[in-house]
Symmetry: C2
Subunit: 142 residues, 2 copies
DNA sequence: ATGGGTGCAAAGGATTTGCAACATT
DNA sequence: AATGTTGCAAATCCTTTGCACCCAT
């Protein structure tokens, strides 16, 4: 537990973000829950701990994280944005049935970075994702 | 022009979709405008031709297209979904400044398909995208 | 006291839904 | 007749905004 707190603090510092209590709280949640939570997920859970935490702050903070490379913003789910505490490039699988997002291992993620000719465009984020039906849902369909 | 109409018709047929006037209209637009239009874009433009076309129909139709492989749904822009008439896998670049989406050539798009171990997950769509600032906007920043 | 951070309530806006009208086989 | 399609208006709900308060420097 203390490890997560330390990592959260270090991540904020490394990204040049002031470690306010709310930011630490949200970053700790993100690092401790690699389940690609939505803003609502995070707000609901953290409100149990800190009832005064506002939704606005969660929105602002997560956006801030994404803009500063402290988290990844995922726009796979057409209905809502969600966030990922892992900032290293990796792929995601989105199941249309259950709505869950899974991490997908890429044989060589760095390959993806260079395989595209971006011209003069300056990329700060990269996302690779698949959409379909996950293994569990495929099973339960029969 | 007639070529696009024929292609639109063929695409609908190939995907098992009945070629209603509205569907043809929307598919023709999609094939004729590879600019990754939003629902609003399409609705606004096509309303000039067919004023009775409803936004609901545009929403429904585009979703239907995407679900049947007749178009690609792009969720790069966090604020709105847009669509692509090209169904072959390719990458996109989203400029945070001007909001435009550009096609990115991938040296071997099929490589991407097999480079990931999807386990038992059944993927129907794949998206690779980059976010950042496009060449033009980088220039105008200075 | 000054600037950044937070929270509340309200506004904004994209997307969906329910349902009636309509077309097509 | 039956089924699939369309259109309107209303509802939904995610996200942003404006503004006041507060804390830390």
């Amino acid at each position: 537990m203390a490890a997560i707190e330390r990592e959260a603090y270090a991540r904020l510092e490394r990204c040049g973000l002031r470690p306010s209590p709310q930011r630490l709280l949200i970053m700790e949640y993100l690092i401790g829950h690699l389940t690609h939570p939505t803003v609502e997920d995070i707000h609901k859970k953290l409100c149990q701990k800190v009832p005064t935490l506002s939704r606005t702050t969660v929105y602002n903070t997560l956006r801030l994280f994404a803009e500063n490379g402290a988290a990844q913003m995922l726009t796979i789910d057409e209905h809502r944005v969600c966030y990922d505490g892992i900032v290293e490039p990796h792929a995601h699988f989105y199941c249309k049935k259950c709505g869950k997002i899974f991490d997908i291992l890429i044989s060589d993620a760095n390959l993806l970075r260079v395989s595209a000719d971006l011209g003069g465009n300056k990329a700060t984020e990269m996302q690779l994702y698949y959409r379909g039906v996950c293994a569990k849902c495929v099973e339960s369909e029969q």
